[in-house]
Subunit: 229 residues, 2 copies
């Protein structure tokens, strides 16, 4: 493992977990100290994040974590539903026995990992298991470029999850049941069933995140009003 590779992985994980706030600057000087790497290494790792859509870059102004907005999230969700439903349809239709096994394994793992960590934060292990489950679900489809795109879009969407204040586990939602439904329908080769389950899974998450965002906007508006009077 090369130095730049390691730093890239850590930076990526830290963005996906919300340890770098969306829209915040990624100053090379600050990161040099935080990650214990030279500027050269960082200037090699950061462009890879840009290519993955997790960061942006402007000349003479450095790097930033990708910025979030309700409009972007809605567009992102629309794109994900479009691509992932297609992929899952192909995947369930063409998936082999090995794929079935992988899916069962991924779901079992996801079902056993706790959502919350010791500190009340979202457990990083759950995030990894969740990402793996969704990746494997689509892996029965042989089209590599499309699968890569789906993974890329999911990763950007992950930024929104960790940016939300209220974990999407709440709101009376049974996320484990949703995953179980997708897994079961997939194994049963119930194509319409799995498409429906995945589609709802994605849109429900987005709706909760948008509600969270609007609630936060409302509160900050009230705060501003209270402080200015």
């Amino acid at each position: 493992m090369t130095r730049a590779e390691e730093i890239y992985q850590r930076l990526r994980a830290d963005i996906l977990n919300g340890r770098h706030e969306p829209g915040s600057r990624l100053r090379v000087e600050a990161l040099k100290e935080k990650y214990g790497a030279s500027s050269g290494v960082l200037r090699e790792a950061l462009p890879r994040l840009v290519g993955q859509g997790l960061a942006t870059f402007a000349p003479q102004q450095g790097f930033r974590v990708v910025t979030v907005s309700p409009e972007h999230l809605e567009e992102l969700t629309e794109a994900r539903v479009f691509i992932e439903t297609h992929l899952v349809r192909e995947s369930v239709t063409a998936g082999t026995i090995e794929w079935e096994s992988d899916l069962l394994a991924a779901h079992h793992h996801l079902a056993r990992v706790p959502f919350f960590g010791d500190a009340g934060e979202i457990n990083e292990g759950w995030l990894n298991a969740h990402a793996r489950f969704h990746r494997v679900l689509l892996e029965g489809c042989p089209n590599r470029p499309l699968r890569d795109i789906a993974t890329q879009l999911r990763e950007v969407a992950e930024v929104y999850r960790c940016w939300a204040r209220t974990p999407t586990e709440h709101s009376g939602r049974d996320i484990a049941a949703e995953h179980k439904a997708m897994c079961d329908r997939a194994i049963e080769r119930d194509v319409p069933g799995v498409v429906e389950a995945l589609s709802r899974h994605i849109t429900i998450t987005t709706r909760l995140l948008l509600d969270d965002y609007r609630r936060r906007e409302e509160e900050s508006r009230q705060d501003r009003g209270a402080s200015s009077t």
Copy 2:
């Protein structure tokens, strides 16, 4: 324009024009001399190509231009047809008057630029106009993430065009008529017509490229046979 930005643009153009052969190594030492830049600048520009899918990277082994294969091209084409037909449907449905104007302008430009350059090579201006036309065609759709993905896939596909020995203009194909048909159907808001035209446009190009590839494989097999006897 920063130095790394400039080098990135030149590298990208050189790959898209076939001046760097698919699968060939991109040695930092060699590039340093060729582009007159330091290793630091190159190590910042190259990862951006990786993120765009135009290059690959392996630790301790450096960078390579993306490798090509018939299977990859077929998957790529399938993905493009899937995504671009969706986008063009949305685009033609939702496109504004400004979009119509942009499309007409882009088509006019493309129709006037010659396909071949003075040296008998594919004219770089044509490649740019062609890329612009296809981009504008889909730009009526407001979904930014999907448009970006379509552009990314098209760029990777461009590598295949310049890698082919026989330009896709040949084979009795009237590529200008295809573009005109797409443009006309789009302005007429003939959704099924434009979807059909775009779909055929993409698949025909791929078929010609695959034919070219198989012909080349056949010849090289004969050459090997002749040289070994």
